[in-house]
Amino acid sequence: MTYDTLDVHRNGPVGWLIFDRPDQANAMNATMLQELERAWVELDQDPAVRVIVNTGNGRAFQTGLDVRQLARDPGALREQSRRTRDAALRLTAWHNQVWKPVIAAVNGVCAGGGLHFVADADIVIAAPEATFLDPHVSIGQVSAYETIALVKKSPMEAITRLALVGRHERINATRARALGIVSEVVDSADSLHSRAQEIAETIAQHPPEQLAATKRALWGALETAELQ
């Protein structure tokens, strides 16, 4: 399958899903919104792919919806609005119910909707220049899905601060690691891909069924705590 806005390929047992609109800071336009769903499903269904790495080409990791492009594409905007309203997004591995391990390798700025891919990954590593910010409230938008998931996974105060301070402040890679939002900051951006491949290959040695069952069990812990 071919993609215009993503680079999807295999390297041994590892499937790579790379945001590939570097000139637009990898913002999601209508095409990428469609291609993301297709790419997650393709990698999930390929039995040769045991672990998936998600990263970005260029200086940014992911900066959320390309609002300018979507404003010119009312049909796509309407569809994305419907999915937002109905809680039926298909951007991330979690949205697409991918039960293979997913590693987000944050290569640069991760802003706004880009946080979906950090929140919904199993493992997150970062380049030293990676930064995290959530400008939604600075442009009159609400922050919800991605920061809700981050609240469930990280110390909450850091996330409420990120969401309420908007574009005026960032969390850097060092602080993100201290908070446990990411588990590893590589020495330099040049080694991000090789380190992600290495971690993915290590995980790929484990039996896929047990990995999937473990992933379902652990993400289940974030769901309702109601006693059965």
């Binding site: 600075s138 938008q141 922050s143 920061t147 909450m156």
Partner: protein
């Protein structure tokens, strides 16, 4: 807006920032029954003031807050019984969370924060602290149970640290540096005397964002502590959709493109 006169709290506005200052410094800001009632009024008045965009809560003197005033409890024969009904029915009104304040709330911890003082750490959106701030929970050391404020903290930070404070009681303190490591606070202010200046600056920065979008975001994020992930996202989706068509969603991108501060609609005290 003119605020009610209160005996144990200072309530005032500096620019877009509402200040709530614990003001019983000689009792380390311990909360007596009168102060407990005044909190309910102060939060509601700051929430209702359309000129207040962000609220900062701090303390006068060498303590931020030290919880229920034990000398009052021990002194008049009524003891903790005076609070039985409100606690048993979880009918509390002394934090912004209890009072459903959806404006951003920054707690600025000066000095000692202990016992019931944790209510305002647990229930704030953002917590910063002076470099000499100290945290401990002496409840079990004076024969009391700790529950509500520690439960709030456990939902927001590593659980082990909270359990340890609950069981170590008055015999161990967590210092500002460790609180920062744990993600209980996001910033240490040094020297301690600069705390209020920094809190005002941070609050003014946040006040540049859309009040309506911040209120909806705050509801969505606190909902994450109530519900499972999927249900919290569904509730969050309603907050997202609720902002669609709001004038701030036009004004935000326009102001950004024109490189100016946005003219947001004032906070709506009648919002859900």
């Amino acid at each position: 807006m003119k605020y009610s006169h209160l005996d144990h709290l200072v309530v005032e506005r500096r620019g877009p920032v509402g200040w709530l200052i614990n003001n019983r410094p000689d009792q380390l800001n311990a909360m007596n029954a009168a102060m407990r009632d005044e909190f309910a009024i102060a939060w509601k008045e700051l929430d209702a003031d359309p000129d207040v965009r962000v609220i900062v809560h701090t303390g006068e003197g060498r303590a931020f807050q030290t919880g229920v005033d034990m000398s009052e409890v021990a002194g008049d024969g009524v003891g903790m019984e005076r609070y039985r009904d409100s606690v048993a029915h979880f009918d509390l009104h002394f934090t912004s969370w209890h009072q459903q304040v959806w404006k951003p709330v920054i707690t600025a911890v000066n000095g000692i924060c202990c016992g019931g003082g944790f209510h305002w750490v647990a229930d704030a959106d953002i917590v910063i602290a002076a470099s000499d701030a100290q945290f401990f929970d002496p409840h079990v050391s004076v024969g009391q149970v700790v529950a509500i404020e520690a439960i709030g903290l456990m939902k927001k930070m590593p659980v082990e640290a909270v359990m340890r404070m609950a069981f170590m009681g008055r015999y161990e303190r967590v210092h500002a540096a460790r609180a920062y490591e744990l993600g209980m606070i996001s910033e240490i202010v040094d020297p301690p005397g600069a705390l209020r200046e920094r809190a005002q600056e941070l609050a003014e920065t946040i006040a540049r964002n859309s009040p309506a979008a911040m209120a909806a975001t705050k509801r969505a994020l606190w909902g994450a502590l109530e519900l499972g992930l999927t249900d919290a996202c569904k509730a969050g989706a309603q907050e997202l959709v609720g902002m669609w068509g709001h004038p701030d969603q036009e004004e935000g991108p326009r102001a950004f493109a024109e490189k100016r501060d946005a003219n947001w609609l004032p906070p709506d005290a009648s919002a859900p």
